[in-house]
């Protein structure tokens, strides 16, 4: 009966595996070389603004573009640009990377100073200059998100501290270690964008973080902490909007269309810090975990550091990794080689052993309906799967495949191990292609 009357997120219950939740974030020792991809966000690629042989300082822009829908990229170490080469990025496309050999001095660029903000426009400009993108995983340029067409209708900010993916604790550590920065970030966003309310959604498996925010926000009536049930995918944009504000986000619409802006805790935490120091986005707090890693821990890593260097900082591999994920096990991206560099939206690296990575082969669908009961957006993956294998993309459209948020609950619960989430992704991209042709 839950299916019909469900008011709350359906989703699935997961073992949280938050092994690193009590481990303080520690900075990694400086890598000798960093590889800065020119595409670290959704939108248009940047062009290198430095050339081979140039000396760069920390925080100096190395990639930028005139197009609004993008975010600049800054040097994460000081040193010499040794090469600008095309290599395959984590995203799977061939992109230019600026390779910087670190000199170990970490001298700060003279252009790094706290931004002067006087109104909404100068705030958006400062945000764009910081290079910040959505750190929750989507990598949507924040300056674009914060300047919607109908800003006057937007009244609420939803801050996402759900962190519903197993293993990952980087947002949790951010909430404990950077509480003040997060609150300052929220306040400056609310001030410059004229927002009246803010909801911070935190899952109930993080009582320490909840307590810290309740205490810090005592007497503050504009920022409300919302306790969310620990149930994946509580941190998905559409779900957290509904759980905190009660508003429904129709598929294909942006949160701003229903008067809401959504940002991750790490994003607002960065904004709070940037407003004080002016240091752009050059490092990332990540969780390194998985059965193949010797000592799982939380690290503060300069962008562009190769994955294997990060694993080395965790004592190296305990056994041969079979699968390495950028992100959590539910939505993370599997990479084929551990020499790839870290980019802005990565919040975890998981190295899985052969046993952990094993998933049985597909068998025929038995129509059990578990996927339907699990889908947080009320889709019917069993029918979408059938339509896909019948090559019936119009049927997939009729069944609203475009509303799929890619959370993977359907594949997770499937007893036949159907790759339902993949089928949805393929269906979505095929439909996009068909629409372009018309």
């Amino acid at each position: 009966m839950k299916g019909i009357f469900a008011k709350h997120n359906k989703g699935v219950e997961l073992l949280d595996h938050k092994n690193t939740k009590n481990m303080k974030t520690e900075p990694i020792s400086l890598p000798d070389k960093v590889y800065l991809s020119m595409v670290q966000h959704i939108g248009l690629r940047c062009n290198p603004v430095v050339s081979e042989g140039d000396h760069v300082d920390v925080g100096q822009p190395v990639g930028d573009t005139d197009v609004v829908f993008s975010a600049p990229i800054h040097a994460s170490v000081s040193g010499t640009v040794v090469k600008i080469e095309k290599i395959m990025s984590i995203m799977g496309s061939m992109d230019r990377h600026v390779v910087i050999e670190a000199d170990g001095k970490q001298t700060m660029w003279e252009g790094v100073k706290p931004p002067v903000v006087t109104d909404t426009d100068s705030f958006i400009k400062a945000i764009r200059a910081s290079g910040i993108v959505g750190l929750g995983g989507a990598a949507f340029p924040v300056s674009v998100k914060y300047s919607p067409k109908n800003l006057e209708l937007v009244d609420s900010l939803v801050v996402n501290g759900a962190e519903c993916e197993p293993y990952i604790t980087s947002d949790y550590r951010a909430m404990l270690e950077d509480t003040e920065y997060i609150i300052e970030g929220i306040e400056s966003v609310m001030k410059w964008l004229n927002l009246r309310r803010c909801y911070i959604g935190i899952e109930d498996n993080k009582p320490e973080a909840l307590a810290k925010f309740f205490k810090a926000l005592e007497g503050n009536y504009h920022i409300k902490v919302v306790i969310l049930k620990s149930r994946y995918p509580q941190g998905a944009e559409k779900i957290i909007i509904k759980e905190t504000t009660g508003k429904v986000l129709p598929p294909g619409k942006l949160p701003a269309d229903i008067g809401v802006l959504v940002s991750n805790v790490a994003t607002v935490g960065f904004i709070g810090k940037y407003m004080q120091t002016g240091i752009p986005l050059i490092e990332k707090r990540i969780t390194v975990d998985g059965g193949a890693v010797t000592t799982p821990r939380n690290l503060l890593v300069p962008l562009g550091t190769p994955i294997y260097k990060i694993i080395e900082a965790c004592g190296g591999y305990k056994e041969k990794p079979s699968k390495i994920l950028m992100g959590g096990p539910m939505m993370g991206r599997a990479i084929y080689h551990d020499g790839k560099p870290l980019i802005k939206n990565n919040n975890a690296i998981l190295a899985l052993t052969e046993k952990e990575a094993f998933i049985e082969w597909e068998s025929p669908c038995i129509n059990c309906g578990r996927c339907i009961r699990a889908c947080p957006t009320n889709l019917m993956p069993v029918l979408l799967n059938r339509a896909y294998y019948n090559n019936d993309f119009m049927e997939m459209k009729r069944l609203n495949v475009q509303a799929c948020i890619g959370c993977g609950c359907c594949s997770y619960v499937c007893p036949s191990k159907r790759m339902l989430n993949m089928v949805h992704s393929l269906g979505k991209s095929k439909l996009k292609e068909m629409e372009k042709k018309q």
Binding site: P364, N367, N378
Partner: protein, 312 residues
């Protein structure tokens, strides 16, 4: 150390650990209490007939898969479940060769020629039973009477409670405690209401099945019985109602996908069962009712498709 050649796959990278084989295994476990009770009530012949059905269902499935060159899927245990369910719907005195014909229709005709597991449009065990009922009416309706204790060969045959009811012999009806334990004539696995309830409870508890179908099925039957002035408890306990509601109508492939659809399906099953019992030519109607609703399932699915929130 640096590693290449890592596994690439689309997310998610973990699963809930449930497989088709585990689901079928749970159903088999849930059917065991009823089988044991049946052995006590109808003797060794009941167990033997069940084994014959299981063996021949597996045999037909594996032969068909080999002949047509399809991927071997015996390991999913679905043929074992079909064999058990088919035998539970047969009188324990049925000749083995007739039961084997039932296995053939269940596995080959109902299931495999439509594409195997997940693609059949009617419940294989029910189709097997209906074919046998129509083909061999005399052996399929001579019901051995219970004689508690294993190992006895010659059996008296008699009528089922529903047959007595349809003939109006109300003084021959068993009392409710007898019906609860299963001490009356009937198919070998359907008489022990308590054992079936135990198995059904296990399936509900382990979330293999959802409660909509069994509850609404039996509830509708009870309501219709009350409307027509009959004892609702008698109708729920008699015949194959319990077995049908918990094990046959809940078959994933042939029942609707959504909760709403399942409720419509179960109302139809319960209503049709009572109509056949009260007004039909047969004293029992569970098989025909489920079979009929199986055929309607695609339409129920279409009518009860989920709507995505926010989509006009």
């Amino acid at each position: 150390m640096r590693y290449g050649n890592l596994i690439i796959a689309h997310s998610p990278h973990i699963d809930a650990g449930i497989t088709t084989q585990k689901i079928m295994g749970h159903v088999i476990i849930a059917l065991l209490p009823a089988l044991v009770v049946s052995g006590f009530i109808f003797g060794m012949r009941a167990i033997l007939l069940t084994l014959v059905c299981i063996v021949f269902c597996i045999l037909f499935e594996s032969l068909f898969l080999r002949v047509t060159g399809r991927q071997d899927s015996i390991n999913d245990l679905s043929a074992v479940v079909t064999g058990m369910l088919l035998s539970f719907n047969l009188p324990s005195s049925l000749p083995f060769w007739q039961a084997i014909i039932g296995c053939f229709f269940a596995i080959v005709v109902a299931k495999q020629i439509f594409g195997g597991i997940g693609n059949n449009f009617v419940n294989p065990a029910i189709l097997g039973r209906v074919v046998l009922l129509i083909s061999f009416p005399s052996t399929m309706t001579s019901w051995p009477l219970p004689k508690t204790g294993f190992l006895h060969s010659d059996m008296a045959t008699g009528a089922t409670p529903l047959y007595e009811l349809s003939k109006g012999n109300l003084e021959n009806l068993p009392n409710f405690s007898e019906m609860f334990i299963g001490l009356h004539g009937g198919s070998l696995g359907e008489t022990g209401a308590l054992a079936i309830l135990l198995g059904g409870g296990f399936l509900l508890f382990t979330r293999i099945i959802t409660p909509q179908i069994p509850l609404v099925f039996l509830g509708t039957m009870g309501l219709v019985a009350i409307v027509f002035g009959q004892n609702p408890l008698f109708h729920i306990l008699a015949g194959g109602a319990m077995l049908g509601a918990f094990f046959m109508a809940t078959d994933y492939t042939t029942a609707p996908l959504t909760s709403k659809g399942k409720i419509i399906f179960a109302i139809g099953c319960g209503f049709l069962t009572m109509m056949i019992r009260l007004f039909g030519a047969y004293p029992e109607g569970v098989s025909f009712a489920i079979l009929f609703m199986n055929i309607l399932t695609p339409h129920i699915n279409r009518l009860t498709e989920h709507k995505v929130e926010g989509v006009a």
